[in-house]
Amino acid sequence: MDLRAFGEAFIAMLENIGIPEGWVLLINWILGALILLVVALLLAIFLIWFERKVAGRVQDRLGPNRVGPWGLIQPFADALKLLTKEAITPDNADRITYNLAPVIAVFHIIMLFAVIPFADKVVGANINVGVLYLMAFGALGAMAMLMAGWSSRNKYALLGGFRVVAQLLSYEIPVGLAMLVVVLLSGTMNLNGIAQGQGGLFGLGWYVLALPAVFVMYFVAALAEGERAPFDLLEAESEIVAGYNIEYSAMKFAWFYLAFFLNTWVLSAVAVTLFFGGWQGPGAAQFPILGVIYFFIKVFIMFFVFAWVRATFPRLRIDQMMSFCWKVLVPMGLALFLSVAVVLKLGLPDVATWALLFVANIVILVVTLKLLGNYTSDLSRTQNKRLFAPELPRL
Amino acid sequence: MTVPLSWYLIFATALFSLGFFGVLSRRNAVAVLMGVELMLNAVNVNLVAFWRYLTPTDLSGQIFVVFVFTVAAAEAAVGLALMISIYRTRKTINVEEINALKH
C-alpha cells in the first residue's frame, strides 16, 4: 500500500472539481500542515505519559497509574487542569512578546515535522535542504525563549534567557557538524535521501555503523539542544528557579511544556533518520507501511533513551557544560568531519570506506575524550578550587 | 514565475529605503545597525531575484548572496562589539553624541 496514493487521489479529485492548479497546491499544503499539526499534538500528549512512566520506573516508582488504564488518560487530565487555571500576565510584562513566545516555541518545532520522513516519500515537504531546514528552524527556539525571558520582566527569567543563548547557540555547532558529517557521507541534504541511503544490508546499513562517534556527539549535543538533563540548565530549579518560563502559568506554560516534549521527539526522530536508517528496515522498501512502523518504533526507543538519561543523570554546572561543548565536542566534530572527508576522498569500495570510517571514528572518540576530556576536567577542578576554597587571611 | 521581476525589485527598493531611513534617522546605534541589516537583506532579495529571472542557470547570484551573509555576520559582530565598547567608554549609545569625526 502506497501512502502517496491517497495524496494523489485527493489532488486528482480537487482538480476534477475544477479548482485551478495553484489553489489545489495551496489547499494540499494547508491540509498537509493540518495533518502534521494534529499528529504532533496527539504525539505530545502520549509522550508526556511515556516519559513520566519511564522516569517513574527508573526511579523505582509506578508513575501515573490512576486515570485510565496504566494512567494513559493522565495527560488529558493535566491538560484540563492547566486549561482551567488562571493565565497570569505580569504587570510589567511586554504583553505581545510575552504572549507570542510560547506560540513560537511550539510552532517552530511543529514546523520541523514538515521535513521528517515517516516512510519512503511520506514526508510533509520533501525539500532538498532538509538538514539545513532542521538547523534553521531549530535555531528559532532560542529566539522564542529569549522573548519569553526578556518579556517577563523577571530577573530569573532574564538569566534563563542568557543561558538559552549560551547553551543553544553553542550546542548548535556540534549538532550542525554531526549533521554535516552525515550529509558528507550520504551526499544529500534531503532527509528522505539520507534515509534511502541507509538501505544496505536489507535495510540495516545504518550510518551509525560507520559513524558511531558522530552519533555519540549528536546525541550529547541533542541532549543540550533539547534542554534535557544533564544539560537542563535553562530551567535549573536550584539556580534560577525555572528559567525563562518562570512567569508563565496555565495554558501558556503548557505550550512550553508541549514544545519541550515535541522537541525531544523531533531530536530523536532526526537521530533515527540520520543514524538509524529512518524508516529503513527489512522489507521496508517493498512495503512502505512497514516503514512507518519501523520509524515509530525506532523513534520511541530513542526517546526512551532520552528519558532514561534524563531520569538518571544529575545536572552539570554551567561552565562545565560550556567547556564541554567548545573544548571537547567542537574539536571532535571538526576532526570527525575532516576524517570523513579524507576517507571519502580516497575513493575506496564501500565496505572498506565504512570500515575505515568506523576505525577513524573510534580513534577520534578515544583520543578526544582522553586528551580534551582530561584537560577540561583539570580545568574545572582548578576552578573549583578558586570558587570554593578561597585563601583565608592568615591570623 | 507569475510574479513579475519588477515586483521583487520594488519590494527590495522599499526594504532598502526603510533600512536606509533607519540608518539616517535613528538615534540608537543598535537601531542603526538594524537598518544596515535591512539594507543588506534588500540587496540579497535583488540578487536572488536577478538570478532567478535573468540567469537561472548560472548560480553566481546565489553565491554572491552567501558572501553578503558572511559580510553581514562579520559586520553585526564587530558592530555590536564596537557599540558595547563605545557604550562602556562614553556611556552613550546615541549616534548624535558620537561625533569624534568633528574634532
Binding site: - | F20, V23, L24, S25, V95, E96, I98, L101, K102
Partner: protein, 730 residues
Amino acid sequence: MSESIFNLTWLIPLPTALAFFAIILFANPKKRLSSKIAVGGVIIAWILSWAVAIMFFVNPEFTEQPFDLAVPWIPMGNIVFHMGVAVDAVTAGMLFMVGFVLTMIFIYSTGYMSFPGHLDPEKYPDAAKEGLDPRYSRFFAYISLFATGMLGLVVADNLLMLFIFWEIMGLCSYLLIGFWFDKSYPDPKQITPKAAGLKAFLTTRVGDVLFMMGLIFLFIHAGDLNFQNIFANQEFLHELSTTTVNLPFFGAVTWAGLISMLIFWGAIGKSAQFPLHVWLPDAMEGPTPVSALIHAATMVSAGVYLIVRMSPLFSAAAHGGSGVMMFVAFIGAFTALFAATIAVAQKDIKKVLAYSTISQLGYMFAALGIGAWVAAIIHLLIHAFFKSLLFMGSGSVIHGVHHGHEHAHAHGHGEGGHEEYFDPQDMFNMGGLLKRMPITGWTFIIGGASLSAFPLITAGFWSKDEILAHAWADGHMAVYWTLAAGAFLTAFYTFRQIFLTFFGSPRTEAAEHAPESVRSMTWPLVALAFFALFGGFVAVPVDFPVVGGLASDFLAKLMEMQGEFYGLHVAPARFDWTPALISMTLALSGIVVAWLVYGWKPLKAKQSDPLRRWLGPVYTVLENKYYFDELYYFIAVRPTLWLASFFYLFDRGVIDRIVNWVGAFNRWLARTLRRWIDEYIIDGAVNGVGLVTTWTGAVVRLIQTGQAQNYLLILLLSVVILLLLIPFGS
C-alpha cells in the same frame, strides 16, 4: 594520474620558501633546528621534483603537449598576464638534477658550517661552544631562499617569473658570497668576501639590465612571456626574425637578433662568460657549499638553461640572418679555452675549480651556439653533478687542512711565536691527503676524472664528447679545435690539482694532521660520485661500440622530442671515431702530462710550481688572470671614481659658489624689499587670506557635524542626483 602529479609542480618551490620564512621569523636563535627545517624543506622539494621529473621521463608522450598550469596574475587592459608552472623535458631534467644536488648540498652544509677559523671564539662564546658558525641559521635561511629561487626558475612557465627568480638567486648569491662579511686578510690586495659579493652583484647587474631590456622588447612584440605560447609559435618567431630595427652603430638588425642578443647578455653575466667572468673566481670567498651550490651546479647554469629555453628564438634569429648564434659559439668556445688556461696557473684549490666551471659553462654555450642544445643541457646536468662533487670535495679538504692546522698549532708543532698567515686553500700547502682523507680523496678523483673526461667510465666523457662530436659533425672546426685544446688543458689542470692535493707527501704540518670530514659531509660526496660516474649513460650515443647498445640514450631522445614541439630539429650526431679518438687522446695526454709534471716527482714543501720555471712570464700573466681585474679597474672603476671626484670638485668649486652668491643676493634683496612690500602688501594679503579663510570656515563648518548620519544623508542626496541623471541626463 600522472597529470595529477604535475598539478603538484607549483608546490615544488614552496617548502624551501616556507623553510626560509620559518627560519627567519621563528627558528633563528636555534641553530640545529634551523638546519633541520631547511633540510626538511629541501627534502620535500626533492621528493616532489623527482616525482614530477620521473613521471615525465617514463611518459615521453608528454613532450607533445607539455604541462602548463597558469593562473591570472596581472591584468593589463586586454592582456592578462598569467603566472604558472610548466613541465617539459628540459624542466624535468633540471628538476631531477636541481632537487638532488640541492639536497646533497644542504646535508653537506650542516656539517660544513662549523665555527669558522677567521672568527674570534671569545666574541662568539655560544657559537664556539656549539662548534657552529654564529650565523648558522642565517646561512640555512639564505640557501633555502636560494633553493626557492632555483626551483622556481626551473618550473616557471614565463620569462617574467623566470626573471624574478633569477634576481632572487642573484640576491642570495650576493648575500652568500659575502656571508663572512667580517673576514679580512693580511694581504690588502686579496679580495674580501664583502667586496667579492659586491663585485658579483654589480657585474651580473650589467648582464641583467640587458636581459631585462630584451624581456621588455619581447613582451612588446609578443604581448606574452609564456614559453610555450611564444616559442612554439612558429609564425610569430618567423615574423620576429624578419622585421628589422635600425640601431645606431649596428645598422639594421632583426628583432629576433636584438632580443636574443640582449637576453644572451643576461646569460653571460649569470654564467660568468667572458667578458663578465671576473666575478665568479672571487665568489669563491663564500662558504664552499655556496660555491658548490650556486657557483657550480645551479645558479651559473641558469644562464645555460635560459639560452636552452630561448633556443627557438635563437634559431629563428639565425634563420633570419643574425649572427647571434655565432656570437654565442664564439663566446662559449673562447671562454672555454681562456678560462682553462687561467686555471692551469692557480694555486687556490677553489679558484682552479672556479675557472674550470667558467670553462665548462663555455663548453655549454659553445654547444648552444652550434645548435647542439641537447648536448648542452646534458652536459649541464652532468657537469652539475661532478662539479658540485668537486667543490664539496675541495670544501672537505679545506675543512680537513684547517682542522689539521689547528691541531698542529694546538700541539705546538706550529712555527711558534707570532704565526704567519696560513692559507688552508693553497694547494701547495697540501699533498698526500689521500691517506688522511680516503673518502674525500677517492670521490674527488672520480669527480676530477669526470671533469677531465676520462674515457668510457666517467659521465663527463660522454657529455663532453657529445658536444665535440656535434662540433665536428656540423663542421664547426674552429669551435671543435678550441674546445679540444680546452679539453687537454682541463685534464691537465684537474690532475695537477689532484696530484698536488692528494698525492705525494704532506708539505705542511696541517696537511699531515688533516682529519677526514664528518659523515654528513662525506655521504653526499659518495652519492654525487655515483652520478658523476654513471650519470653519463643517459648520453651514450646509440651507435657507440659495445656500450652504446647497453644504454638507451633516452634523455637525449626525450630532449629531441621536446625540441620538435618547439620547432627545433636537432639531428643526433652520428658517432664518429675521429673526433672521439682525438678528444680521448687529448684528455689522456693531459692526464699524463700532469702526472709527468706533478705526479712523477711530487713537490717538496715550499717548492714552487715547476710550470713557473718553464712558462716564465706567461705563467705570471695566467696567474694574474690576464690582468682582467686590473683592466676593469682601469677602464670601469677608475674612471667612475675620477668622474665622481671631478663632480665633487665641480660641486664644491662652482655650484656651491653660485649658490652662495645667489643666497647673498637674495638676502640683500629680501632686506630691501621687506620694508616696502612685506609690511604692507604681503602682510595685508596674508591677513586678508586668513580672514577670508576664517569666514569661509565659519560657514562651511556647519556642514561638518561629525555625525555619520549627516554625511550619509548627503551621500543619499548625491546618489539621488546621480540617479536623476539616468532619465534626464541623456
